[in-house]
């Protein structure tokens, strides 16, 4: 991180653009592929490097902003962070660049465009990729326990929980559960449990609307109650199961809430060749009708205002997110491009035929929500997380009271 805030190297001149990607292997391979192609044909060269090592890429980016050593282009910015940087004036408003608006309108849905438009009316991020959160399940366990259909509603999920809950080694303690989700109170864990369930129940409802808390409703309360009951009835474990073995792979869990990254992980580490799994949407209340929405976990591309040639930076970014770029993203990283009609577009069909598990995510991509544009969204999630812990995990508050307290605290925060 210290290096991120140090002076830029001398070999970076006006004709070279510095491009940082995330440091996971797939994205490095993806970036190297496109940088090589670009550099072979263009006068302005791209210098690529993965984001420097740090506790998190967010911290590294922050350090580089403070030290004014930001790259020209950064691919992997969490959508929730963009508003803060935009308000600080360190990002280039991309809608002022030639060809941006037309291109992005052709690629993304109106809903996505609305989501990424900042409060000042400008667009500071290129919607790039998504990892929709869905329910992964173990097919063998499902049939072994006589579950004829997937537990889609809260009630069905409870019933599955009752059937599956077991003490396999007879030590008096449960060691098989219907599911597991992180119990840690840190804010980002709520992006994998409360938030996608809330989006599912509310058909893509907002957490913040008109600068006020918008989650104090039947859906927010319902999700807290659903999760609280899962812990009370011991259908979920309160222990940090992730600290040891992966309990989905050891077949102690029927389901988990995960994104498409889990496909490669399970395929790589599964302990039996006949281990079969797939994905289905998040659980919803029984009265819910229609398609089930979820959280898209969007990561986007930004251009920092230290960039001397933003137009050329955009021209390069276009190569990453045109049809060919998006297909490469699928093939190399197993992540979905944030592109409309992904499920039906002919160009991508051969990929989905070869990767049927990804097809499920492509279908889900029609029903997604990202993050509300709010400068203090991390604090909002932290407040929800505190109440989540008190209510869901430790049963110290009723769901109604916990959600009400969270909404009050969020409103106080937004007032200041």
């Amino acid at each position: 991180m210290a290096f991120a805030s140090c002076k830029k190297s001398n070999d970076q001149n006006n004709d070279t653009l510095l491009f940082w990607s995330s440091n996971n292997r797939g994205e490095i391979e993806f970036s190297e592929y496109f940088v090589k192609q670009w550099n072979a044909n263009q006068e302005t060269k791209i210098k690529f490097q993965p984001v420097p090592e740090g506790q998190s890429s967010e911290e590294v980016i922050l350090a580089s902003v403070v030290g004014k050593t930001t790259p020209d282009i950064y691919a992997n910015m969490w959508q929730g962070s963009v508003e803060m940087y935009a308000k600080a004036g360190v990002l280039v408003p991309l809608d002022t660049l030639e060809g941006f608006t037309e291109f992005i309108k052709a690629r993304c849905s109106k809903k996505v465009l609305k989501e990424i438009t900042s409060s000042d009316g400008h667009i500071y991020q290129v919607p790039w990729k998504i990892n929709p959160i869905m329910t992964i399940y173990n097919k063998r366990l499902l049939s072994d326990f006589g579950l004829s259909k997937l537990p889609n509603t809260y009630d069905e999920y409870f019933k599955a929980g009752e059937k599956i809950k077991a003490d396999k080694d007879n030590d008096g303690y449960i060691d098989q559960w219907v599911g597991y989700t992180a119990v840690k109170v840190i804010w980002y864990e709520r992006l994998m449990n409360f938030y996608p369930l809330y989006i599912a129940a509310s058909d893509g409802g907002a957490l913040i609307k008109d600068n006020k808390a918008a989650f104090n409703n039947e859906y927010g309360v319902g999700v807290f109650r659903f999760l609280q009951e899962l812990y009370q009835k011991e259908y979920f474990s309160k222990e940090r199961l992730t600290a040891g073995q992966d309990r989905f792979i050891t077949e102690d869990l029927l389901t988990q809430w995960k994104g498409p990254w889990e496909i490669r992980h399970v395929d790589k580490f599964k302990q039996r060749d006949d281990f079969e799994f797939s994905f289905y949407p998040m659980q919803v209340p029984k009265e819910h009708n229609g398609p089930v929405y979820t959280y898209s976990d969007p990561k986007n591309i930004v251009v920092f205002n230290t960039c001397k040639q933003p137009q050329k930076a955009w021209n390069f970014i276009k190569t990453l997110i045109d049809k060919e770029g998006d297909k490469k993203l699928l093939e190399i990283t197993t992540q979905l491009p944030n592109r409309k009609n992904l499920e039906t577009e002919e160009f991508f069909q051969d990929y989905f035929e070869k990767n049927p598990k990804m097809k499920v995510f492509a279908k889900q991509a029609n029903y997604l929500k990202g993050i509300d544009n709010c400068e203090v969204i991390v604090e909002v999630f932290d407040i929800i997380s505190q109440e989540y812990e008190a209510c869901v995990i430790y049963n110290k508050k009723t769901p109604e009271k916990a959600i009400e307290d969270a909404a009050k605290a969020v409103n106080n925060l937004l007032k200041n």
Partner: protein, 287 residues
């Protein structure tokens, strides 16, 4: 030559002075200025007067974090002293493999705090942790070492004691070896028991070491961070939210730099106050 002699002391102290200005004086003064501002690192600073201070006095979570830190100290310091003194006393006897034991007790001190914390997290596991497995095997109930709000801080204190005990064992050992042997010989001739010799000779003689251990443990305990950060994230129900963890959260999670620095200043003053009181109390005991 005269000129050189005049300037030589200044030249010799200049590296320290420079280091002090850059790494101590400037950050402290800058932080003091920051306590009167709101600043998220990337936007310009905004003057807010005393609002950070008034916010601090009304911030329930900060006071809870202070209470948690004191709870940790109340468990950790006595435990640290008793365990390390007992081990030092053991090592001060004529036992075999003394060198091995010294090294073994000191080993956790040099192991990274993160590694130790992750290791203990496994040991404290509710369903699969070694401690609970042992309890079950002898017919006891499982304990929510890190998931029970009443117990979690105690568990962290046990771990922190294990991690640091080796350092204090060495300090006590040095203290014990400075006690003249003829005091014990005279006491033995007078018929004093082991316990009497320990109370009447050892403890008074190693009082300066005890003072040092108390001060070091207090300052170390006040800076409790890695353990709750990794093991519990400040939970369950904020029961392990230490003051330093809370200050870190304000600074690097919410980017409230001005506010976090205000908390930091207050906390530093508090540590200073506690150490001064401890010093006076122990010195009174000496008299």
């Amino acid at each position: 030559m005269q000129m050189n002699k005049k300037w030589l002391p200044y030249i010799l102290v200049s590296p320290y002075i420079l280091h002090f200005i850059v790494f101590v004086a400037f950050p402290v003064l800058f932080s003091l200025v920051l306590t009167f501002h709101e600043w998220n690192i990337i936007s310009p600073m905004k003057y807010t007067g005393l609002s950070n201070y008034t916010k601090m006095f009304n911030d329930r979570m900060f006071w809870k974090s202070l209470t948690n830190t004191f709870k940790f100290l109340i468990i950790h310091i006595p435990l640290q002293i008793v365990v390390s003194l007992a081990l030092a006393e053991f090592l001060n006897q004529n036992i075999k493999m003394k060198g091995f034991f010294r090294a073994a007790f000191f080993l956790p001190v040099i192991v990274s705090g993160v590694v130790v914390t992750i290791l203990w997290q496994q040991l404290f596991g509710f369903d699969s942790g070694l401690f609970n497995r042992m309890l079950i095997s002898i017919g006891f109930e499982k304990v929510g070492w890190l998931i029970d709000p009443k117990i979690a801080m105690g568990s962290i204190a046990i771990m922190a004691t294990w991690k640091n005990v080796g350092l204090y064992v060495i300090l006590f050992l040095v203290g014990l070896q400075t006690v003249p042997v003829h005091y014990y010989e005279a006491a033995s001739i007078e018929g004093a028991s082991h316990w009497q010799k320990f109370r009447k000779i050892t403890l008074p003689m190693i009082n300066p070491t005890i003072f040092m251990v108390v001060i070091l443990s207090t300052i170390g305990g006040f800076s409790l961070f890695i353990e709750p950060y990794i093991m519990t994230g400040g939970g369950p129900l904020s029961s392990t939210m230490s003051s330093v963890l809370y200050i870190y959260k304000q600074a690097f999670q919410y980017f409230h730099m001005g506010y976090s620095v205000t908390l930091g200043f207050f906390f530093a003053m508090l540590i200073l106050g506690v150490v001064v009181i401890q010093k006076k109390y122990i010195e009174q005991g000496d008299d």
